[in-house]
């Protein structure tokens, strides 16, 4: 009896096996092209756009692209460390901005992309850009130093069936230096070591603006229904908060208009006031690290008061100001204390628990997916203080890759403006290639989900305002420690002063071996 059941189990496994094998053989007969090289890419989330991969496969049927998505923290942490230690792993890696400081300290894990040159593999295709001016399409190519040269229209290649396939192309002989002019300078710098070696080239840039609910703003009397409808509302709202103080004041006004029942339910102005801290700091010139001419930078600087070298976090007036601002906002009860990405967050988004989210470009797609019921009710206004950034990614080639040339050919193609334009259109990831910000499809891009706000224009304006900030290895850790510190105050566990002191102690521990 028992044995019978065991055989049933084996039969089940066999069934699964059988089904799989038949589909595997079916797939095998379709692909006949011999693969000359396999490029392994470690990535996360939406960094690599699958349709572009399909296009690349059409152009280079002999190149196999294997894309593996992992959880960001593990992939940019242990996984890459293990790979670099044993010199075995991916050919291309996606490094998120907050880890860029860490990996810049280990240039030996990456290939200096200045030394790479694109092969002629991609030149069978012709042009790269298309612009639309005065009702006319213009096509451009890049020369060796990255300048645009105008070419005739031939933005396609002929595939094996004879069909025209639109695709961007990259000329032979390009190095990282030649494509550098395409990119926003401060984003580019995040992938450059102090000896000038380029270990990563930026894909998207987060930017940071404010998403607000027009319907709730109308209800609170901050804007009129007509303003919300004709789109002038977003300018009025942006002008309402040129500074963070004004932002908090607006929040207070909003909260004061709430009904008693809403207040009891914990409804508020912004999802979480904690975000103000990093947003403010990112607008400063220096955050936790001082650029001292080394790859790792230093967390120490001379404190003008004591004239001694001390950790920047302990005396920087910007940091204290940002902290105090969050405390003020918290005391004013404008936040709902809903952590971003917690299970409560999307529910709150759908139910008007809060009317404002500070959001990088990549978050807009998330809002669309998680709160589709609020379609058209959102709009986008400028971030107080002007410009901000959260997140963004760069792609680099590992030093131990055995397909460096192929990887560079792919990388330079993938990060060419035309391909990045497609990533923007598909996922709303904002490209770092500034050369396309003036392209009609970015500049004039309006998103119906966000009340037809010119999302492309708003975000690109903010992004171009930013200055580079030195991203140190421990930036994410220090951010987290301050976040926890503010969390203690918000949860009513500690006073601001007591929590600040605990935070300083924790930071001392966390940075004890930092230079």
């Amino acid at each position: 009896m028992k044995f019978k059941k065991f055989t049933a189990g084996i039969a089940l496994a066999g069934l699964v096996l059988g089904a799989g094998v038949s589909s595997a053989t079916a797939a095998a007969t379709e692909e006949k092209v011999t693969i000359s090289k396999t490029i392994t890419i470690w990535t996360f989330g939406d960094v690599i756009e699958p349709n572009l991969i399909l296009q690349y496969k059409k152009v280079h049927p002999d190149i196999q692209l294997e894309i593996k998505k992992s959880d960001l923290a593990a992939m940019n942490g242990t996984d890459m460390t293990a790979a670099c230690t044993s010199k075995t792993g991916p050919d291309l890696v996606a490094v998120e901005v907050q880890y860029s400081g860490k990996w810049r300290s280990y240039p030996k894990c990456f290939t200096d992309l200045k030394t790479m040159r694109t092969s002629s593999a991609n030149t069978t295709m012709t042009t790269i850009f298309k612009t639309h001016k005065k009702g006319q399409d213009n096509y451009y190519d890049l020369d060796a130093s990255g300048n645009r040269i105008k070419v005739a229209n031939s933005n396609y290649y002929i595939d094996s069936t004879g069909a025209k396939v639109n695709v961007g192309s990259v000329k032979a002989g390009l190095s990282a230096t030649s494509i550098k002019p395409n990119f926003i300078p401060w984003r580019w710098e995040q992938g450059v070591g102090h000896d000038g070696s380029v270990i990563g080239i930026p894909t998207d840039v987060g930017g940071m603006e404010v998403l607000y609910r027009t319907d709730l703003f109308v209800k609170a009397g901050l804007i009129t229904a007509a303003q919300s409808k004709n789109g002038t509302g977003r300018d009025i709202v942006s002008k309402m908060w040129p500074t963070w103080d004004k932002f908090i004041a607006t929040g207070k006004k909003y909260v004061s208009k709430l009904s008693a029942a809403d207040k009891k339910k914990g409804v508020g102005f912004i999802d979480n006031v904690g975000g103000i801290f990093t947003a403010m700091l990112n607008q400063a010139k220096e955050k936790y690290y001082h650029d001292n001419g080394t790859d790792s930078g230093t967390i120490y600087a001379v404190n003008p008061k004591t004239k001694k070298k001390e950790p920047i976090y302990s005396f920087s007036p910007q940091i204290k100001a940002a902290w105090d601002n969050v405390i003020v906002a918290d005391k004013a009860k404008i936040g709902t204390r809903t952590a971003q990405f917690s299970p409560d967050w999307p529910v709150g988004m759908n139910n008007g628990k809060f009317a404002v989210i500070m959001a990088p470009a990549w978050m807009m797609d998330y809002v669309k997916q998680q709160a589709p019921l609020t379609k058209g009710k959102w709009d986008v206004a400028a971030l107080p203080g002007g410009g901000g950034n959260l997140g963004g990614t760069q792609l680099g080639i590992t030093s131990y890759s055995d397909a460096k040339q192929e990887a560079w050919d792919f990388l330079s193609w993938y990060l060419a403006p035309e391909q990045q334009l497609q990533v923007f259109r598909t996922y709303g990831l904002f490209p770092s290639t500034k050369s396309i910000y003036n392209d009609a499809s970015v500049k004039d891009y309006k998103d119906p989900f966000f009340n037809n706000a010119p999302v492309g224009k708003i975000y690109s304006t903010g992004i171009l305002k930013l200055k580079p900030i030195f991203e140190g290895e421990l930036n994410p850790v220090i951010d987290k420690a301050f976040g926890d510190g503010l969390g203690r105050v918000a949860a009513g566990k500690k006073t601001s002063a007591a929590s600040w002191k605990i935070t300083m102690d924790e930071l001392k521990k966390l940075t004890r071996t930092a230079r």
């Binding site: 699964v16 593990a74 139910n351 797609d365 998330y366």
Partner: protein
């Protein structure tokens, strides 16, 4: 008129009464046991916004097929199922075989260093596994096993936990008298192991095998690190490819989790009863 002699009323001793309370307790626990799986399915089949409403949707929605379709578009999920099954079966069989061998030796054979070794093995079992991942990767990479199923199979062939388990089982279930009798009859150690020990521990062996299979199936960190190509993925690595954003999309995540769990639930329907008796078998015998 025939008098039917009523059977003597079943006299149930007090310790054998099963009241309504007992059934309610069992029913409640059974509900709790299954609910998270049900919830996974509800979220996956409704999409996040449906469960983000107040009150949330509590019944399955229409979207589950979309999730399945999405899974099959993104990854060769059948291949992943095959890979996972292969790894799981090999690991399960090897675990049982090697663990029983060593467990038998540790439980019943007299050799020098026996006790010291088992204590040492148990002690090392307690070190958290997270730290071992880097040296393990270096080893596997050195042998060229990255991106092969060998990287999953070989380190799991026999584990300290399996040996410890088998030692306990054999110690408890195999009577010394039987072994003594057999050896007096002239049976060698191999013979004793093969024809006495193995048959007795069959059930417990099955349980160990099944739990090894489940553990292999659900393992994520290590396979996700060593496997590179989609055609090598295990089910858990495969469904992780669904994560389409910087952040958690609950519907997709739980949809993937459900897809990776469904085969196990199916397997459970077939072997659940056997698993239960296996878990308990050791005690009933003997």
């Amino acid at each position: 008129m025939t008098t039917v002699v009523k059977p003597v009323k079943n006299r149930r001793p007090s310790w054998q009464k099963v009241g309504l309370g007992g059934y309610i307790a069992l029913g409640f626990m059974a509900f709790l046991s299954v609910f998270p799986f049900y919830w996974m399915f509800v979220v996956a089949s409704n999409g996040t916004e449906e469960v983000s409403k107040i009150p949330p949707a509590l019944l399955p929605g229409p979207r589950f097929l979309t999730v399945i379709q999405h899974v099959y578009e993104v990854i060769p999920f059948n291949t992943a199922l095959i890979n996972t099954t292969i790894v799981g079966l090999v690991v399960a069989v090897a675990q049982v075989f090697f663990s029983a061998l060593a467990g038998f030796a540790f439980a019943k054979l007299d050799f020098r260093g026996r006790r010291g070794m088992i204590v040492f093995v148990i002690a090392t079992m307690m070190l958290p596994s997270q730290l071992g991942i880097i040296p393990l990767y270096i080893l596997i990479a050195g042998w060229g096993w990255v991106n092969t199923l060998l990287a999953l199979i070989v380190p799991a062939l026999v584990t300290a936990f399996g040996v410890f388990w088998m030692r306990q089982v054999i110690d408890a279930q195999v009577p010394n008298e039987m072994l003594e009798a057999a050896s007096i009859d002239g049976a060698g150690v191999m013979r004793v192991y093969w024809s006495i020990v193995l048959p007795i521990i069959r059930q417990s062996g099955f349980v160990l095998g099944l739990f090894s299979f489940l553990a292999t199936w659900n393992d994520f960190l290590w396979p996700n690190l060593v496997l590179q190509s989609p055609d090598m993925y295990t089910a858990q690595v495969a469904v992780n490819q669904l994560k389409a954003s910087y952040v958690i999309d609950y519907a997709l995540n739980l949809g993937g989790a459900f897809m990776a769990t469904a085969p196990l639930l199916l397997l459970f329907v077939f072997v659940g009863r056997r698993l239960v008796s296996g878990v308990m078998d050791g005690a009933v015998k003997g």
